[in-house]
């Protein structure tokens, strides 16, 4: 189940260094895009049969005359193979932005293509859909908008039975959706939400993954919280999405990744999260987290973090809802195995993907903040020491680790007794040496709680040059008051 996802696409033959360089460039570009809130990615399904991909898979740019010729051949050719061949040639040409521009500027071209898309010749239909798919990959919204005449048909075909074709339509729709608000403004009244709700009942894994992709693109739209998410929540989609996330033999990782991201976009928009909690989102996601931790233990597979990330986010955000407390009068999520699972994932992130540590710690904060039970679990499962081992990773991680420890300490003497003696005080003395104000500030808060509920700690603090550690920060504006207060406590103790 958790073995490496068998995509239909395999890695290119390319030097490892070259791949790494490309990936770094890509990452930099994506970060920039995200900061500008322009993060857009598309999926391209390209299936060139090996013999066609013979001499350099790069097809030539087509001029106006050629585009016209291929269209005419496709429409009026005598032999079926000839017509198909014309569309294949057109499709290859459409890999180029220049050909795409030429195509949409040619009068009647889209009309012809839509005619072929809706023709009775199954293979022509498929090729025409592939041409549309190439167009959908364009980064220009004018080209996406040129595809508007086709959308009602793409939606109609979603309730068909040919799974490859449906998959292609879904990826095409997903690409068009993300490119242009005009496309979304048309697709919503055309009934994309009911069409997806019907299609999600398909038994085909490839169709479900494509649907998840298209839905995730729809949910990322800027106007989604007001215009899209309410109708999605009102449909049967949430229940089906949660079903796709239930651990068990039917869970498909590729499908689960897409729907987990869909859920994340819905939940972080905070439209109506109690509804999702009512559908059992918390327990489903909690069980999935356990399943993920189990998978991490069994295999070294990279790729699990693609699913872990949105699951962590969903759980964390859902835990902030008041509804979490009121259902049955207690938290829906009480199983301490969730804490065990989370730490297994934290260790996995520590080794494979440290950038996800903050997200894991965010969940830990939300689990422990208002829960004496989970704080007790942290102590009884002996997790304080591993938590402290994360301190050196980064300032952000340090602050979060210290915050979680504060969550435990603030519950009172019974908790602080279990934090002392132990590695906590030495760790705090160490973080007091940091220069980051937030890290030091959080350390001061924790020290305060420790001194309050476990006064014996003061002596040892003094013996280990604690005062000098404090002095370092007494000029810092944001820390002064707290430093002074602690110095007083220490001296009086």
């Amino acid at each position: 189940m958790w073995s490496r996802r068998q995509g239909r696409l395999r890695p290119t033959v390319c030097g490892v260094e070259e791949l790494r360089r490309r990936r770094r460039e890509q990452e930099a570009a994506l970060r920039k895009a995200r900061r500008e809130q322009q993060l857009v990615s598309k999926r391209l399904l390209r299936e060139d049969a090996p013999e066609e991909a013979g001499e350099g898979c790069v097809a030539a740019i087509l001029g106006e005359a050629e585009v016209q010729q291929f269209l005419r051949q496709a429409q009026r050719g005598t032999e079926e193979k000839e017509r198909e061949g014309a569309l294949v040639s057109l499709r290859r040409g459409l890999q180029h932005p220049e050909t795409q521009q030429t195509f949409i500027q040619l009068e009647g071209s889209m009309r012809t293509l839509v005619g072929l898309l809706t023709s009775n010749q199954a293979l022509l239909q498929l090729e025409a859909a592939r041409c549309l798919h190439e167009l959908s990959h364009s980064e220009q919204s004018t080209i996406a908008e040129a595809c508007l005449p086709a959308t009602s048909y793409l939606l109609t075909y979603l309730s068909g039975h040919s799974s490859d074709f449906i998959e292609l339509c879904l990826y095409t729709l997903g690409n068009l959706i993300v490119e242009s608000e005009a496309v979304r403004r048309q697709l919503l009244p055309q009934g994309i939400v009911p069409a997806l709700a019907a299609c999600i009942q398909s038994p085909h894994v490839a169709v479900l993954e494509a649907l998840g992709y298209a839905l995730s693109q729809l949910l990322q739209a800027k106007e989604a919280p007001e215009k899209i998410i309410p109708s999605i929540l009102a449909s049967t989609l949430p229940q089906h999405m949660l079903q796709m996330l239930q651990p068990g033999p039917k869970l498909n990782p590729g499908v689960a990744v897409e729907f987990a991201w869909c859920l994340h976009y819905i939940i972080c928009s905070q439209v109506s999260n109690p509804l999702l909690i009512g559908h059992g989102a918390l327990s489903t996601l909690g069980l999935l987290l356990l399943d993920l931790a189990g998978a991490v233990q069994r295999t070294e597979d990279a790729g699990l973090e693609l699913l872990a990330c949105p699951v962590l986010r969903c759980l964390s955000n859902l835990l902030t809802e008041a509804a979490v407390e009121t259902v049955g009068g207690q938290m829906q999520l009480r199983d301490e195995r969730v804490v065990a699972a989370l730490f297994i994932l934290l260790q996995f992130f520590f080794q494979k993907q440290p950038s996800l540590l903050p997200e894991g710690l965010w969940l830990l904060n939300n689990l422990t903040a208002n829960s004496p039970s989970f704080c007790t679990s942290l102590l009884s499962l002996d997790l304080i020491k591993p938590l402290l081992q994360l301190l050196p990773v980064s300032n952000v991680v340090s602050v979060m680790v210290l915050t979680v420890l504060c969550n435990v300490a603030e519950k009172g003497p019974a908790y602080c007794q279990r934090l002392w003696p132990g590695p906590l005080l030495p760790a705090l003395l160490h973080t007091l040496a940091f220069s980051d104000t937030e890290v030091v500030g959080q350390s001061l808060e924790l020290l305060h709680l420790l001194f309050l509920y476990q006064p014996e700690a003061v002596q040892v603090f003094l013996q280990q040059s604690g005062l000098q550690a404090l002095e370092r920060h007494q000029e810092e504006a944001q820390l002064q008051d707290r430093v002074y207060a602690l110095q007083q406590t220490a001296l009086q103790g």
């Binding site: 297994i344 260790q347 965010w362 903040a369 003497p413 207060a485």
Partner: protein
């Protein structure tokens, strides 16, 4: 980061919540200048906290683009013909056959042999074209259901329904799967003014379909003018005949007679 060995065992064991230690807060804990309050945190959509995870997600999506080179080849099989009566299409790949079957034979009207993209549209067609009770009822109440999945509106006439689909659902005026029923005469054909291009294109389809049954999908009136396409029509009839001759079909002869009467 080293986890205690008992942790895995805990994960494998059954569900359970720890019995919480007693909570006992001192008011001095939250007294100024200290300000810590334990609280769950929420992050909204665009928060920069999500940057790293979002970038990973998009790298994943784009990887599918980068690794484009080797698509697995379609498994080829010895050529075989579609088994549906009257269909002479031949295939050498199962995927192609699957798509052909679903497109042309999947949702077929048993009355007029028209093929539809979905069961939903087939049902609507049968009701509106072949159900006499429907005709009777529609004189008294709104029976024409909107074709958009999820919309429950009904209308008195197919024209009203089309207006609704165009206005409310932004569907194209010439939506191919919603043509009004017109009376059919098998040997005569007229071309609708605006879709000359398309109808010519569709004339091709006679090649691979049994000519006795028109393969047009829901409501689509494939109509051709005598004058403008008769030559083309004849050419295709001949193509069909040569194919059919090979297959030994006898009604090809009938078709020739029909054509020669023009």
């Amino acid at each position: 980061m080293q986890l205690p060995p008992a942790l895995c065992a805990r994960l494998a064991a059954g569900p359970g919540a720890a019995e919480p230690l007693p909570v006992e807060r001192d008011p001095a804990a939250g007294a100024a200048p200290f300000r810590f309050v334990a609280r769950p945190v929420r992050f909204p959509r665009e928060h920069e906290f999500f940057e790293d995870g979002d970038v990973q997600r998009h790298l994943y999506l784009q990887e599918v683009l980068m690794q484009v080179a080797d698509a697995p080849e379609k498994p080829r099989v010895p050529a075989f013909a579609c088994q549906v009566a009257g269909c002479c299409q031949v295939f050498d790949a199962l995927d192609d056959y699957e798509h052909h079957y679903h497109t042309l034979h999947g949702n077929v009207c048993s009355f007029c042999k028209r093929a539809f993209p979905s069961g939903h549209l087939l049902d609507a067609h049968i009701l509106e074209w072949h159900d006499s009770l429907f005709q009777i009822l529609s004189e008294r109440q709104d029976m024409y259901q909107c074709l958009v999945e999820g919309c429950t509106e009904k209308f008195k006439t197919s024209r009203d329904r089309k207006d609704h689909m165009v206005r409310m659902h932004l569907y194209p005026v010439d939506f191919r799967f919603d043509k009004p029923k017109k009376s059919r005469s098998p040997a005569s054909v007229e071309v609708p003014g605006d879709s000359g291009e398309r109808s010519e294109g569709e004339a091709m389809e006679i090649c691979s379909e049994p000519v006795a049954a028109s393969p047009a999908p829901a409501g689509e009136r494939r109509t051709y003018s005598h004058r403008s396409v008769s030559k083309l029509f004849l050419k295709h009839v001949l193509n069909v005949c040569s194919v059919l001759r090979i297959l030994g079909c006898t009604w090809a002869a009938a078709l020739l007679i029909l054509n020669s009467e023009r």
